[in-house]
Symmetry: C2
Subunit: 377 residues, 2 copies
């Protein structure tokens, strides 16, 4: 075999190894490392760094990771390693099962190609890791933790993998879906604050599937956005548009996440819904959706997103509305009054809930950039 | 947007949804789903399937996953979901941190392209997920659980990502490394059973880096295997070969796993070692390595693989050995007596340790294909 690559020796230390280790001789390396670990020994009550066993490996990985300068990242890694190790110990995970997990994650990662993340082709999976998080209930859980909602505010739900950033800004009254097979639906909404006052100039992303249950990005021949728009609430907090009645659809299930659902005997369907995302400075970012009552998947959503407060009964457009909004009388009507929470109130609630949860766990914690970390001296 | 794809409606049910749901009408879907979940309700004590909260989402995901027909897969998923959810709850994981994790996993997956898994190019990462498992201590933990070793048998350690299946079968005495810069090392070994009897015809995979700390597969211009071989023990359980003295090297650190190590303030080095893998019917597959004593990374291996019983002191080739094995007198000598454990003994030990661990956890479990699952009626 030819060795025509640039030579490498012990002197070539990666740039993130502390400077004092880059002297270039193996012996100095050795002595400095001894000092380094010697210092660590003084700071952390550690088991030996070799001969790691089922029982002592976790504390040793923690010890080696404890050099992390950011207290939050250090805490996240400490909990991650604990849970991954406990998982292996509690299940007595076999080598074959471990390899199957490695291959599963690799297949999830492979399907997330650059191209597929920009334009999701039909029958190819988008952002499979988000789907994986969705079907494991993690996405909803994280949204619930990060965006706590006081009573009377609008609840959040899963983002899913189909939001895009290329929808056009359109005025109130626009038609957002051009699917000729869709059943027209007039959507009349308001957006208010916790005091019941209308909020003007809220940026609202809206997206839904076509009548066949596909988002625009699932079509290989997509020429531009459809079934999606970006609007602004008017001075009265009102926004309205012409859409189609949402239909249930399966999440992309031709990839590894579909295989997982199959293994679990689960169906991949989501109940009929329309996505909404609200952004306005000073208010907590709200990612939510409205669901149709009595959908066959209302209580078995593959991604656990349905909340009673987000379920709507479709109404019927009356004569006055038909004239005012330029739609047919007797057509479908969806109405909803969204309530946003201020950044400040959300922050207070999030921090309060975090500290209550930490106390329940019996951990001495403090907040660091609004998130809990161990309170050590 | 054109809708020239085959139409889809509710009748088009994925093939893994039970037959009774594929009738083709939404209303039948609805009634059958009601029956289905209705039955589930009878079998599992469940919280509502909508309005999932931080507190009740875990039990609901378990409930929905409980249709899994394989008891072991069901248990694995139950524990996985519990730990992932507890991780999010204990850390109060933020949406930003969740997205960073999704992006990290995506980048790990992207680097595992087909090409890179077949031939690992220099400065490109191989099987990044294995490396991720390695640096988190999971690989060593799983090996320890799955391959328990009775006293006096040879301990196992991490496989790492550099084993290949293309090494040539070579006779005893072969030269396995052709690096002209490597320091020659005669390796004399035996392989025996627990009773001290030699085992003949054991298939032994051996692999090591060159003198620069690179495996053959890390060279873009690799023409074939080097620094690796497959041998068989002879009638006396002996196998021997000519290699080079192993050197320390960093694991591939130009990818996401390297970024993780950097964030954690960890170095990416492994101490000098030579890999061995033993396979013979009736014996537990042994993946192990020999480490050189006093390596600068002996107590800080980036992947936690070092065990005292696997550390060797290099000796010196004497005149008799030089003549017998056709090497220079005074050269380096590595010797080791490997001890394999029977499949049967390993199985008994693995199952015993599993049941002891389950009892400690206070769980009523039974063995299913040799692995623990809940013991339910």
């Amino acid at each position: 075999m030819a060795h025509n690559n640039p030579s490498r020796n012990l002197a070539e230390v990666p740039d993130y190894v502390p400077d004092e280790y880059s002297d270039g001789t193996a012996s100095l390396h050795a002595s400095l490392l001894q000092t380094w670990w010697g210092n660590m020994r003084g700071k952390v009550d550690i088991a030996p760094h070799k001969d790691l066993t089922i029982e002592n490996i976790t504390e040793n990985v923690h010890m080696i990771n404890s050099r992390c300068p950011d207290p939050r990242q250090k805490y996240l890694l400490e909990r991650l390693v604990t849970h991954i190790h406990d998982f292996a110990r509690e299940t007595r995970l076999s080598t074959g099962e471990w390899m199957a997990a490695i291959q599963f994650l690799t297949s999830v990662g492979k399907i997330c190609s650059d191209v597929r993340q920009k334009v999701v082709l039909k029958r190819e999976s988008s952002q499979e890791f988000i789907l994986l998080s969705d079907v494991l209930g993690l996405s909803l859980l994280v949204d619930s933790i990060d965006h706590p909602k006081p009573p009377a505010s609008t609840e959040g739900t899963v983002l899913g993998p189909f939001h895009t950033h290329d929808a056009a800004n359109e005025p109130n009254g626009s038609t957002i879906s051009h699917d000729p097979d869709g059943e027209p639906c007039l959507v009349l909404c308001t957006v208010k604050n916790m005091a019941g006052e209308p909020i003007a100039n809220v940026k609202i992303d809206i997206w839904e599937t076509d009548s066949k249950g596909f988002y625009d990005v699932q079509y290989a021949d997509r020429e531009g956005p459809d079934g999606r728009t970006v609007m602004e609430s008017d001075a009265h907090g009102v926004f309205w548009f012409k859409a189609i009645v949402p239909v249930p659809y399966p999440i992309p299930h031709d990839g590894p996440v579909g295989q997982l659902l199959k293994m679990l005997g689960r169906h991949p369907y989501r109940p009929s819904h329309m996505h909404f995302m609200f952004a306005k400075e000073g208010y907590d970012h709200l990612i939510t959706a409205l669901y149709l009552r009595d959908d066959p998947y209302e209580t078995s959503d593959a991604v656990f997103g349905v909340k009673e407060s987000l379920i709507v009964d479709l109404g019927t457009v009356n004569a006055e509305q038909a004239q005012k909004y330029g739609v047919k009388e007797g057509g479908k009507l969806m109405t909803y009054d969204f309530v946003l929470v201020s950044d400040e109130e959300t922050r207070r609630l999030r921090e309060k809930e975090a500290m209550v949860a930490m106390k329940k766990l019996g951990r001495k914690m403090k907040l660091y950039r609004g998130l809990p970390v161990p309170d050590v001296d």
